[in-house]
């Protein structure tokens, strides 16, 4: 079984070139040093305050995401291709969003079923006919990728709303550079530290036209009890912008204002880290205390820009996902550089039948699920779990999709017994602004620390690694 997985470092007996220098590094590291470094990394993370709260699991709210010191490496050639593929996807997704809230050409052309778009829960009726500044809906696109062979990459899902995890990309690098400076002298590793500045430029580039001077940018957080709060404050700090909660903002006249020690100050761009439904209690959930009453009116009259734009969620829905290659062809006239994972829609009768007959080999996901919850991994499930899931699918077929169990690549990882291969995925972050589409050379590599496990989600015991892109 293990032999069928692509190992990113060891190709049979050979070491693949990007990892060449890491072989000596790990060989020359005695166990004591390794333990020492691991403890050092952990205390650095805790000191900085990067912790992660898991919803609904109780326990320690200050839990750390395990950090694995063994880096994951890409050559610059591999990266170039990935990067082009990710940008291509990000452009197509934005074109799709502008289209479906406008004339819906792709639906009229019969390339995507109308029902999937307009009856989608994430389709936001309140922004139909409104064009966000510079026609950008999703400013930060996180694309989840897996690898199955030297040249085989698949997109697992797109995240068009507010993908999290970028703080780990930055902090993992910071910590590796602090602990192993020699590694960075020996290898030529492309830096990722320009991300916050790029993000700031991206957000500034989509300021509303009404804003004539330097735009005031803020990050809107649900508050410090949110599991990603650290990331929100981290980004605000590195971009030099205010981190606000709903209570810090209010609407007056045609603008949104924030409460400061010097009185009200106009806000031009809001990078929100909360869901659409919480943004404005007057427009969405009336019980939300996290948002700003009246914000959507200001937004629709061009008084403020919101990133990602309300309604962007319809593009990263798991049922829409199947059609992304189609979007790329339709809007860009290009062939997709990155492949989709073949997906069966349980909403379709014949595909649903296939899924039910092959449950033991498939991964079944909820259309709106995330975080690795509510999914069935066929090969790792028991008979009764499969039966339970089959019942759920029959009850509400359109809520489920299925994919083959992919042979995720592995990367060497420090474990109790030494070094062993563990499955990894990758999430790069693509920034889409008024006139640019950028990707820093790196991303978040998540690793399933349990032997044989294919679930890399941090809420399910996954860890993270520093991700290197070697310079030419």
């Amino acid at each position: 079984m293990a032999a069928t997985y692509f190992n990113e470092m060891y190709d049979g007996g050979l070491i693949r070139p990007p990892y060449a220098r890491l072989e000596d590094w790990q060989k020359n590291m005695p166990d004591e040093l390794r333990n020492l470094k691991q403890a050092e990394a952990e205390s650095l993370f805790r000191r900085i305050g990067i912790t992660f709260a898991v919803y609904g699991e109780g326990g320690d709210p200050d839990r750390l995401i395990p950090f694995d010191m063994f880096p994951r490496v890409f050559t610059s050639l591999e990266w170039q291709r990935l990067s082009r593929g990710v940008k291509q996807r990000a452009r197509a997704l934005n074109a799709f969003l502008c289209d479906v809230y406008d004339r819906g050409e792709i639906v009229r052309a019969g390339r995507i079923p109308a029902r999937l778009v307009y009856e989608n829960e994430a389709f936001e009726k309140s922004v139909v006919g409104f064009r966000p500044p510079k026609s950008v809906y999703s400013h930060i696109v996180g694309i989840d990728l897996v690898r199955t062979g030297p040249d085989d990459f698949f997109v697992l899902e797109d995240n068009c709303r507010t993908p999290s995890g970028v703080s780990y990309m930055l902090e993992n690098r910071e910590i590796m550079m602090r602990m192993f400076p020699a590694l960075f002298r020996e290898n030529r590793i492309a830096p990722v530290e320009s991300y916050p500045e790029l993000l700031r430029q991206t957000l500034a580039s989509v300021a509303p036209e009404k804003c004539r001077d330097e735009p005031t940018i803020v990050i809107l957080t649900p508050g410090h009890y949110n599991s990603a709060y650290y990331e929100h404050s981290f980004l605000a700090d590195l971009m030099g912008v205010e981190l606000v909660e709903g209570q810090d903002l209010y609407v007056d006249g045609d603008y949104c204002w924030m409460r400061t020690t010097e009185g009200p100050r106009r806000v031009d761009v809001i990078y929100r880290r909360l869901d659409d439904s919480f943004l404005d209690p007057l427009c969405f959930r009336p019980d939300s205390m996290l948002g700003v009453p009246g914000l959507m009116n200001v937004y629709r009259s061009g008084g403020v820009a919101i990133a990602s734009a309300p309604g962007a969620g319809v593009a990263d829905d798991k049922a829409i996902y199947t059609f992304v290659p189609e979007m790329i062809r339709f809007y860009l006239g290009e062939e997709p550089i990155l492949n989709n994972v073949p997906t069966w829609q349980c909403a379709k009768k014949d595909e649903c039948k296939y899924v039910l007959e092959n449950l033991k080999d498939l991964v079944v996901k909820e259309v709106h699920g995330s975080g690795g919850y509510g999914m069935l991994i066929g090969p790792r499930s028991t008979k009764s779990e499969q039966e339970l899931f089959a019942a759920k699918i029959r009850e509400n077929p359109s809520n489920y999709i299925a994919q083959p169990t992919l042979a995720l690549s592995t990367c060497p990882t420090f474990v109790d017994e030494g070094i062993a291969p563990r499955h990894v995925d990758l999430r790069p972050y693509c920034l889409v602004g008024g006139d640019q589409c950028e990707l820093v050379p790196g991303g978040l590599t998540r690793v399933a620390l349990t032997e044989g496990s294919l679930v890399v989600n941090s809420s399910q015991g996954g860890g993270v690694k520093d991700t290197w892109v070697l310079a030419d």
Partner: protein, 317 residues
């Protein structure tokens, strides 16, 4: 700066100062209880301590009798008591966590470190911890915090809000500690000037870590007049009301300059500071120490309310 950020910084300063005061009060109580009782029948020196913290009735409801173990639980460990050392440090750290980006890492380390240490202290059997350990530990945490603030914080408006917080809190707290003496002596004015009286003044000085400074500044016998002068009017004493108000006024002045507009908080603080500067110690005694302190505390509270109104709510002026 966001009003909410300013609010968190301000309370971070206040809570850390309050934590130290609580620990010092525990120390005062413990020392006073070492003195043989001269009054007929049983009398606990812990009651005045609880009165000074204005938590006596809450204490009685939960614990009943004011014995040392209970009082220490209440003032140090009890999270139900919002002014206990544990509550204050927890709240200060929470404030800091919310504005993590507005403070330096050494300030965060000090608060987060205190919070983590506290968990260890809570797990340690109480028989293995002495009161002086608790006091010293708390004072050290506050020193680390204040040191971080003074040496590593950017000296912008945020810095002024932290400092404003601890100067106002210190003004209030010194007044409270001094007032303990008043509650202790309540039963009988006949003890004034007795050996017990002197011992209690000395205890107060020790608890404030001012007994050495006292000898440098005044020398000779410890008299109530000298102690009160030191803690209220002496500009050289870091914990005196005068020094605390000077600090608060300074930071309110800086804020006014920074924002280019005067505030009512600033003028109230200035006038209180001016009153103290011109006062002589005989004025305090003529007025009555307890009465003076009560009025002072309400003046400080009024400045606090003005700070809240002007800076921390963020409504258009």
């Amino acid at each position: 700066m966001l009003s909410r950020t300013a609010d968190n910084l301000y309370w971070m300063g206040r809570y850390m100062e309050r934590a130290e005061t609580m620990a010092r009060l525990i120390n005062v109580g413990a020392r006073m209880n070492l003195m043989p009782d001269t009054v007929d029948g049983y009398r606990s020196e812990w009651v005045p301590i609880l009165q000074a913290t204005e938590t006596y009735s809450a204490f009685e409801k939960k614990y009943g009798e004011a014995v040392e173990r209970n009082v220490v639980s209440h003032l140090f460990f009890d999270k139900d008591n919002p002014s206990s050392v544990a509550s204050c440090i927890g709240a200060a750290r929470e404030n800091a966590r919310i504005v993590r980006t507005a403070i330096s890492s050494s300030v965060w380390d000090a608060l987060n470190g205190a919070f983590q240490d506290l968990k260890d202290l809570e797990r340690t059997p109480r028989s293995e911890i002495s009161i002086s350990q608790l006091t010293e530990w708390t004072a050290r945490q506050n020193a680390l915090f204040e040191g971080g603030v003074q040496t590593s914080l950017l000296r912008n408006d945020g810095y002024d809000f932290v400092n404003l917080g601890f100067h106002l809190e210190r003004a209030d707290n010194t007044a409270r500690i001094l007032d303990v003496k008043y509650y202790v002596l309540l039963p009988d004015a006949g003890y004034v000037g007795s050996g017990l009286d002197n011992y209690q003044w000395q205890t107060l000085l020790r608890a404030m870590q001012m007994h050495r400074a006292f000898h440098w500044a005044y020398g000779g016998e410890i008299t109530p007049t000298k102690v009160v002068d030191l803690l209220i009017l002496n500009a050289a004493c870091p914990r005196s009301l005068l020094t605390a108000m000077q600090g608060a006024t300074n930071h309110l002045d800086r804020l006014a300059r920074h924002y280019g507009t005067t505030s009512e908080a600033q003028s109230e603080a200035r006038s209180l500071f001016a009153d103290l500067s011109e006062m002589r110690i005989t004025d305090v005694f003529d007025h009555g120490v307890h009465e003076f302190l009560t009025r002072f505390k309400s003046q400080v509270a009024s400045i606090g309310a003005a700070v809240n109104r002007v800076y921390l709510t963020g409504v258009p002026a």
